[in-house]
């Protein structure tokens, strides 16, 4: 038989199907009461396990390669031929029609358009990287560059949902929600799934980190990293009307009253869970203030990441994973900053310039702290860009003929750390960088691989909802074992 849930705490939650969860669990999954009973030795123990916090750390199917994820989301779609997938043939054909038919993308496209940037080989692996990511390139021996990514359609909205939730339109939990549901979190004093985006939301907004049909607590906690103050980053994290010592006394009185109430009510796990949650909340206030305050970093670390908002939020990401946060998603900015239909030379240089140093610093910093081995870093957009120029079109670009259209046929993402085989290039696009042709990796395959690195069999990692067992990868997805070290 197939086990439908993956671990005791989930089973515990499931157990509440019959009732229990009503008592404090979360109605999910199928149940494996016997397993839970075996582990805890009694029905009573099983019941208590079921009343645990939904974010309690949990075991996955397989030994874990990556414990945590940092997803650097270059929203808008960075161009592969200008970053990690050099195509010298574009120089030859620059300004001319490609010898192959232009694939259909969102908008009309024209002649070949060479990369305005120089590429250079880096590291022992000698992987070529564009000058606009020259600092990140220093870490290329830790990176697995997937040049054969492909998605389904050339539009932002469905592609963002596909990349985040595994489905282009329907309501499905995001990757971060699945992982916090499956693994819980190692630090109860911080949100388990943190999403940072300076200035506002990306396109498709908070649906990108939705929990779908999973409990709301698994949704990403969004922070506008244009804010520097912790109290503006996390809601209700500070009480500015009550000194901390006095709040402690208040909680002490509260627990006295709660204890009397518990004595009158009889033993009840849901009442006890609630009592505990105040202690957790009290600790969370100081822990969160600490985690988000990058000014506590020494100067050499601050200098390493460099100035600016990207540096600050990427450094926050490191501070969060260091403290056990399960999934951190770092978006480049509000809207779709990498969506350079025009002036790609200036804009890609500017955008890369904002994050290149910080990304390099992140990889080196994680490594020097011994965290890179267990932290998976994922870089990429929702799709890539065409190797041919976008043609002017009323109402869609500025008619400059110096940008690139969306391209879902082929694009590049890279993975680093967390059990990934560094210094590798996987797959290839055609000779112009238009379409993935060799060892193609669909977004579902990427998801299956990430889940595998996190210890899950993507086909067994399910959630029962509306009569079906749902998966992040739906009926798709293959683990790309060549990406795993």
């Amino acid at each position: 038989m197939q086990t439908e849930t993956i671990n005791p705490a989930l089973d515990a939650a499931a157990l509440s199907r019959r009732d229990l969860l009503h008592r404090c669990g979360m109605g999910m999954g199928a149940l494996m009461l016997s397993q839970l009973m075996a582990e805890t030795g009694s029905v009573r123990g099983a019941l208590q396990a079921a009343t645990k916090n939904p974010l309690e750390p949990r075991q996955s199917h397989f030994p874990v390669r990556a414990k945590r994820v940092i997803h650097l989301f270059m929203n808008g779609g960075p161009s592969q031929v200008d970053t990690f997938d050099p195509k010298p043939l574009l120089d030859k054909y620059h300004g001319e029609k490609l010898p192959i038919e232009n694939l259909r993308t969102e908008r009309p496209t024209g002649a070949a358009y060479r990369s305005p940037y120089k590429f250079q080989k880096y590291g022992e692996s000698g992987i070529p990287v564009s000058e606009i990511f020259s600092k990140t390139a220093e870490c290329v021996d830790d990176m697995a560059i997937v040049r054969s990514m492909h998605a389904d359609v050339p539009n932002h909205e469905p592609s963002l949902l596909l990349m985040n939730c595994g489905d282009a339109r329907q309501i499905r939990p995001s990757l971060g929600s699945w992982l916090t549901y499956g693994l819980g979190t190692d630090n109860q004093n911080l949100p388990a799934f943190v999403v940072m985006c300076p200035g506002g939301y990306p396109i498709q907004e908070s649906q990108n980190w939705q929990s779908g049909f999973l409990p709301g607590i698994y949704q990403g906690t969004y922070l506008d990293t244009n804010n520097v103050e912790v109290s503006k980053l996390i809601s209700n994290i500070r009480n500015d009307r009550l000194p901390r010592e006095q709040q402690r006394k208040q909680i002490d009185l509260l627990q006295q009253l709660n204890q009397r109430h518990l004595d009158r009510s009889g033993h009840d796990p849901q009442l006890e869970a609630r009592i505990q949650s105040y202690e957790l909340a009290f600790r969370m206030q100081s822990e969160a203030a600490d985690a988000f305050d990058v000014s506590r970093e020494p100067k050499h670390i601050l200098d390493m990441y460099g100035p600016g908002t990207q540096a600050r939020q990427i450094l926050i990401a490191r501070r969060l994973v260091e403290r056990g946060v399960r999934f951190v998603q770092v978006w480049h900015g509000e809207g779709q900053p990498w969506d350079n239909h025009d002036d790609i030379e200036v804009n890609h240089r500017r955008l890369a310039g904002q994050c290149d140093q910080a990304i390099a610093a992140l990889l080196k910093d994680l490594k020097q702290r011994g965290l890179l081995d267990e932290t998976l870093v994922v870089w990429g957009g929702e799709f890539g860009r065409t190797p041919v120029v976008e043609m002017p079109k009323e109402g869609s670009n500025q008619g400059k003929i110096n940008g690139r259209d969306h391209n879902h046929w082929g694009f590049t993402m890279w993975l680093a750390g967390g059990g990934v085989r560094g210094g590798t290039i996987y797959g290839a696009t055609d000779e112009f960088g238009f379409r993935a042709v060799e060892n193609k990796v669909h977004v579902h395959d990427l998801h299956a691989t990430i889940l595998r690195l996190m210890g899950f069999d993507h086909e067994q990692f399910t959630y029962r909802y509306a009569g079906r067992d749902f998966r992040l990868t739906d009926v798709h997805g293959r683990v790309i074992h060549d990406l795993i070290a």
């Binding site: 979360m26 149940l31 939301y201 709301g216 607590i217 206030q285 509306a466």
Partner: protein
């Protein structure tokens, strides 16, 4: 542990290979060159485990039968074999295998194999397809609803109603006994929360305790059933079913609001208050345009039309409507059949598209009496099955008709317009085995705290069977027989002794039935978000009980005090407070609410402006009283009871020990105002605080420019100067101690338009220490150390220089004060920028808040 459905296998029935048997040489060629390729490159998606596109390639017969798009292999006919085409990796066609083209040598082998007639070893027997089969006609939920007689019980004294006999019989069969009736105060509190979602007042409880009439409880039941708050409470339960929201979700740049969503919500509330028969309640929500003449009833169709818009993708919108109707009303997971026949339940894809056709035959007309209504199109559509759910992949036509699983052999195609009216009649029908059961189960769950069927929106063959099947049938049967009266059903349940039991679990119950499946005691419930927020407002004496109307924003810094059912719900970016407190997801139909216990809930109650405001309002109610009386009144307001002596003592000890807060601890030392500059004397001749804070800026009023104070504005980075020299903007810092002060900063003006701005630093309105002018540039504003005294003020004054044109500026400053013998005090204008200093929580406010945080307040026994 729940029973596992055994997996049966469907044996594939195969015709013998049509061609003559392969020669040994051909077999060898096949085994060496062809089969390994199939296994390696194709089996993952096209064999016994998976059949993508309906195709298997692990036997010649499957290849010839082909995929859902037709045959893929014609032995001997290369050009006629689809499989050969997809292997070519034509950029404009499907490409197989999907990740990379097969090597040329392999392709040559395949070509040869097809041309030689695709020989396959005759001895090969294909593996059977994995699948499941269950005799669904025997499934309990699809049987007609019986009218079971309540069983006899040994204990004849305890049962008060029929419900009690069903419950007691099961308990007796397990050798268990029901609990005693709970105390009267607890019972009344339970009843009022369950019926109205509100706490009873101290006086209400006292009156109940003093009422010795035999029907004291019954009178309260009637009174609550007739209160207008009943509809608000039960209407909200229905809004969960209806995945209610005030917005459409993501729709590009289109206006996201459903401006009339609240009219559906108010219609639902009124329907519950009027005890609109449940069958009619459903009919109006599906087809009010065809069942009612009353214009207000058209809003009922918001049930269908208020879903997520999925960027206006028609198929997804219809899918959502099928889902809310089938899971919400009948506990059937019909949308599983969008792409393929339901794996477990008897719902073929054809049935999905029969319903699809009904909704595809409807329009949402603009400029109609209700924006929520549907009308039938003039010409109904004739649905086709979409193979694998793909709209470009049209399959056979199907009639618009009801589900076979319910209609059985009586099923006939719909004939009236879209068929929506016939659909509504088929759902809201006493002969439908699901509709009444599903609703009775939901009502039971809301009152008892646990449904009889634990999957209230899935009554399919994989769902949990009811714990008390006869009771469920009895409730559903009497719901129908009472004329579908929801109030009658609720009354029956709350009058039962089962409902009136104590919620205390005895050690014996705990050992025998830890999940309380048999109901030997009542379930303790946690107040849901609506009840919790409403109760906070009620305790503070701050609850506005106005009925109905447009939705109100309650999140963020809102001070709204309407009942929570009137909250504006943005499904696209659902505010954190709703998520954290487990509001039903407004995205798709939610079977039931999760009940999580997480620290974010505690943080909201400990620190949110809303919770603190209610605590302060609550404590202010009794400010004039003596301490002992004040403690007593707080307990009465929050718990509707007096404190015990040790509780009163603990409260008094807390008050006595709590220091009065010092506001200086909290103030940052910064003030934000405007004043008149005397440019000749380099002096500030007045200082007046800016009166309005927007959440991120201080200014004259909510809008810029303000009628009185013009453009004057200060924010964390800088601001905008006022309209003249009488309205220079002034950021002022009070020196906390004698010392030596140094200031670093940068004044910026970021445009080449206008003549720029002027900034100056003064001490106590006089004593100018620096003045700078900037236009489209940045200027460091640095003052090296100079002596200051406690109480001095340092003013950062910015004025318009010459004319008022593009006079936004940035001016961040950092102050370093070296206090002899103490150390360095630092202050930054941007980091410490703040809104109005909130009133500190005084000891009594803290006590009031503590009571509001407690389990006794947040759980319902």
């Amino acid at each position: 542990m729940r029973a596992l459905i055994p997996r049966f296998v469907i044996l594939a029935i195969l015709t013998p290979a049509a061609l003559s048997a392969a020669t040994p040489e051909q077999e060898e060629f096949f085994e060496k060159k062809i089969r390994p390729v199939l296994v390696e490159s194709c089996y993952e998606c096209h064999s016994s485990k998976k059949q993508q596109a309906g195709l298997r390639v692990d036997h010649i017969d499957f290849l010839k039968k082909g995929s859902e798009n037709g045959p893929v292999l014609k032995p001997g006919d290369l050009a006629g074999s689809r499989i050969w085409e997809v292997l070519q990796h034509d950029p404009l066609d499907t490409q197989m295998p999907p990740d990379s083209k097969l090597d040329a040598a392999v392709l040559a082998d395949i070509k040869r194999w097809i041309e030689m007639g695709a020989p396959w070893p005759a001895s090969d027997v294909p593996a059977t397809t994995e699948g499941a089969a269950v005799d669904w006609t025997q499934h309990w939920a699809f049987q007609p609803i019986g009218r079971p007689q309540p069983p006899e019980t040994r204990n004849t004294a305890w049962p008060r109603t029929q419900i009690d006999r069903f419950v007691l019989a099961k308990l007796e069969a397990s050798g268990m006994r029901p609990s005693d009736e709970t105390d009267r105060a607890t019972l009344l509190r339970r009843l009022k929360y369950d019926l109205l979602g509100l706490p009873p007042s101290f006086e209400e409880i006292q009156a109940f305790l003093a009422d010795e009439s035999p029907d004291a409880y019954e009178k309260r039941v009637e009174s609550y059933l007739n209160a207008p708050q009943f509809g608000e409470r039960w209407g909200r339960h229905w809004l969960d079913v209806a995945r209610y929201a005030d917005t459409k979700g993501y729709v590009f740049t289109e206006d996201r609001n459903y401006y009339d969503a609240w009219r559906f919500r108010d219609w639902v509330i009124a329907a519950f208050n009027n005890d609109l028969p449940y069958d009619r309640f459903i009919k109006l929500q599906i087809a009010a345009d065809q069942f009612s003449e009353a214009p207000d009833d058209l809003h009922a169709m918001g049930f269908l039309t208020l879903g997520r818009r999925f960027i206006n993708n028609k198929n997804d919108i219809i899918d959502d409507r099928i889902d809310v109707m089938s899971r919400g009303l009948m506990g059937l997971t019909v949308t599983c059949a969008r792409c393929h026949d339901h794996k477990f339940d008897p719902i073929p894809t054809a049935d999905y598209y029969s319903l699809y056709g009904v909704f595809d035959s409807c329009d949402e007309p603009k400029n109609e009496p209700s924006t929520l209504r549907l009308v039938d199109k003039e010409r109904p559509s004739e649905p086709r099955v979409f193979l694998r759910g793909n709209a470009r992949n049209g399959g056979p036509r199907v009639p618009r008709q009801f589900l076979e699983v319910v209609a059985r052999e009586d099923r006939k195609p719909f004939t009236q317009g879209s068929g929506r009216k016939e659909l509504a009649e088929a759902v809201a029908n006493g002969d439908n085995p699901l509709t009444a059961r599903v609703w009775a189960n939901r009502v039971w769950g809301h009152l008892i705290g646990r449904e009889l069927v634990r999957t209230p929106s899935d009554f399919g063959v994989r769902s949990d069977p009811p714990t008390h099947p006869e009771l469920l049938d009895s409730l559903a049967g009497r719901l129908i027989d009472s004329g579908w009266s929801t109030k009658t059903l609720i009354r029956e349940i709350v009058l039962s002794n089962t409902y009136r039991q104590s919620s205390r679990m005895t050690p014996d119950d705990e050992a025998r039935d830890p999940e309380n499946l048999l109901l030997a005691h009542m379930n303790r419930k946690r107040a849901d978000f609506e009840s919790l927020r409403d109760s906070l407002l009620a305790a503070a004496g701050n609850l506005d009980l106005t009925l109905g109307g447009k939705s109100v924003e309650i999140s963020g810094s809102s001070t709204a005090n309407r009942r929570t059912v009137y909250a504006f719900i943005d499904r696209q970016n659902l505010p954190e407070v709703f998520r954290v407190f487990d509001l039903a997801s407004p995205d798709t139909h939610a079977p039931r609410r999760y009940e999580t216990s997480v620290p974010q809930q505690a943080l909201y109650l400990m620190n949110s402006p809303f919770a603190l405001a209610q605590a302060q309002k609550l404590s202010a109610r009794y400010e004039a009283l003596e301490p002992a009386d004040r403690v007593r009144e707080l307990f009465r307001a929050v718990y509707a009871r007096d404190p015990s002596s040790d509780e009163a003592a603990a409260a008094k000890d807390f008050i006595d020990a709590a220091p009065e807060p010092e506001s200086a601890d909290i103030a940052s030392g910064w003030e934000y105002g405007y004043g008149a500059v005397d440019p000749d004397a380099s002096k500030l001749t007045s200082f007046t605080p800016l009166p309005h804070f927007t959440g991120s800026a201080w200014q004259g009023g909510p809008q810029l420019p303000d009628d009185g104070l013009g453009w004057a504005m200060l924010n964390s980075a800088g601001g905008h100067v006022g309209n003249d020299l009488q309205h220079a903007v002034v950021r002022r810092w009070s020196v906390p101690a004698d010392g030596r002060l140094a200031i670093r900063g940068e004044l910026r003006h970021n445009t080449d338009q206008g003549d720029g701005v002027r900034g100056r630093i003064l001490i106590s309105g006089d004593g100018q220490r620096g003045v700078w002018e900037v236009q489209n540039r940045r200027q460091r504003t640095i003052l090296s150390g100079f002596d200051v005294r406690a109480g001095d003020t340092i003013e950062f004054v910015t004025d318009l220089k010459g004319n008022l044109n593009h006079d936004s500026f940035e001016w961040k400053v950092r102050l370093t004060l070296d206090v002899a013998g103490v150390g360095i005090v630092e202050s930054s204008s941007d980091r410490e920028f703040a809104g109005p200093t909130p009133l500190p929580l005084k000891p009594w406010d803290q006590l009031a808040q503590t009571l509001l945080l407690s389990n006794e307040f947040q759980f319902i026994d």
